[in-house]
């Protein structure tokens, strides 16, 4: 019963004028993320006219076209910058920016930290599959060390960027991490993030079975989903573990939750000051 009503919710938010099926590989985690975003938005009772979804380039970049919001598929890495301009002009809109890990953290890394630092009221959702999927499984800033990718055939030697910790340090108002296995938790974090006034980030840990999974012989989509389940621990569990024990684990939880002034609200005060000076 529950499932049926959920698919009815999805149908209300998916575009019927768009030609399906979608571009994602069968078994991809991005669809799970999209479903969770839809249910989160629905749970908040928002008007679709007041919601915008903006993306960059890559597999996750293709998400907005399927959903019946104001949607914009921009250039690689720049989604947050486009969204910043829109938010400045339409501060009342809820703007969800969906990005992959390469899009958000490599080419778009500068915009990512500065959007968080400014605390502008955008919700960033990073689908972290630790690779460039669309181009065939090259390493990204979140690829774990030692594994093979299409551009590290002898093993990856770079350190990982911890997305959630980075956003929390850069000044975001709300930061959380969950996985596409823990879909209810993910959904709840999305709802909390969209409700937050300032900059919010949710990292959704996912997988790419057709690239990294194939290259490293990790099995099917369901095998990789199981890996994510087995690797993940809660923030509370992590607190009682040593750094060695935490190594390689996906830590789920809320990493920042603070009330600091949102950028466009602050800018309204700038306007008030400027107008006073003119008078």
């Amino acid at each position: 019963m529950k499932q049926q009503s959920e698919s009815r919710v999805h149908r209300r938010y998916l575009r019927h004028s768009k030609r399906f099926p979608n571009v994602w590989c069968a078994g991809c985690g991005i669809g799970i993320v999209l479903g969770a975003i839809i249910r989160a938005v629905d749970s908040l009772g928002l008007d679709k006219d007041d919601v915008a979804m903006i993306s960059g380039i890559g597999c996750t970049g293709r998400m907005p076209v399927y959903v019946d919001f104001n949607t914009m598929h921009t250039t690689h890495g720049r989604a947050l910058a486009f969204a910043t301009g829109l938010k400045m002009v339409k501060p009342e809109m809820k703007i969800i920016v969906v990005m992959g890990d390469g899009d958000a953290l490599a080419i778009g890394g500068n915009h990512f930290i500065h959007a968080a630092r400014r605390n502008i009221g955008l919700t960033a959702i990073v689908v972290n599959n630790a690779a460039y999927g669309m181009t065939g499984g090259q390493h990204s800033p979140t690829t774990p060390q030692n594994i093979k990718t299409a551009t590290t055939p002898y093993g990856h030697i770079e350190q990982q960027f911890p997305i959630a910790e980075l956003a929390a340090t850069a000044g975001a108002s709300f930061v959380a991490r969950s996985t596409v296995y823990h879909v209810r938790e993910l959904e709840s974090y999305f709802a909390q993030a969209v409700s937050k006034e300032g900059f919010s980030l949710v990292e959704a840990v996912s997988y790419c079975h057709t690239t990294l999974g194939r290259i490293n012989r990790w099995g099917s989509a369901s095998d990789m989903l199981r890996r994510i389940k087995e690797q993940s621990i809660t923030k509370q569990q992590a607190e009682s573990l040593t750094p060695e024990e935490i190594e390689g684990k996906i830590i789920r939880g809320v990493f920042a939750e603070r009330d600091i002034p949102e950028y466009t609200a602050q800018y309204d005060k700038v306007i008030a000051r400027a107008r006073k000076e003119v008078r």
Partner: protein
Amino acid sequence: MTTRLMQGDEACAEGAIAAGCRFCAGYPITPATEIVETLSRRLPQVGGKFIQMEDELASIAAVIGASVGGAKALTATSGPGFSLMQENIGYAAMAEIPCVIVDVQRLGPSTGRPTSPSQGEVMQARWGTHGDHPIIALAPDSVREAFDLTVEAFNFAERYRTPVILLMDELVGHMREPVELPSPGTLEVTERTKTRVPPEWYKPFENRPEGPNVNVPPLVPFGEGYRYHITGLHHDERGYPTNRLEEIQPWLERIFRKIDSALSDIILYEARGIEDANTLVIAYGATARSASHAVRQARSRGHRVGFLRLKTIWPFPEEVVEHAASRLHHVVVPELNLGQLALEVERIVGRHKVCRVGRADGEMIQPGEILAAIEDLEKPV
């Protein structure tokens, strides 16, 4: 109106305000910084917003985002930043988002000789982003014209749903002149076209054969009940990605047609003494000041020299140049580069008629240099 001593950059910023610009995103770079500084002060006074972004890539992206939200929006930069903006200028052309990009040219390539004048970005303004696309670029030659052409740039951007480049140069940007600005009510300001159809009928990239807004479908701001898709992918009339050849080619033809069918509106120029001329000087931007002076000197010495100053440099005023130069023997093209706009002139009038007077060391071309070129050509053989 009172006369004010004003810088070209400031006049550009005031022109933006007068044109209805209410959003600017920028990143500091000499010699364009005064534009964003002025707008950071002026925009909030009129209820607009300014944001200093983390780089030029973000600045142009924020400007496009703001325009999608319904605001007239501008960014200002110089060569190095203009290079960084190219990808998203292409996005604005592809998604047909009105916006104004001011490039106050300084000597390049690369960091070059900061921050001496140049006109080295004529070709970058035309072809800087990848792929075929039309573009409009305007080049003012005075402080007052920096104001006027900024207003015009916004009007063109809105009228033709396109990015417009205001190609200033360091000399015009930093020069101070006494100017009298027009009072707000006297300006012609174009507002964004509104759609008359309900959301379910709305096609943001409609290719209608005839009727109102032919070639330029109205762009409804986000958040106003028309939920649609914008992408940098080739798209159909609703904005959804397409691989269908019967949708890609007609779209491309339409975005060129919207500019090509409006040349009489877009091509702005000033012509003087062309009727009786043997030799024509074609100039634009700051160089036109030296050229104008040189032409006056040449005429006072009895040479029959005409003067054509291009305010619109892209689309290139082919017909104007052809008409002015076809029966003449010589065309002199002074510019602060080693021959960029001259290539276009050569394409129209033939290579052998054109005398390039180029300079790319960061110093202005003196009237004497242009006069010498004219006299050399006018010498009886």
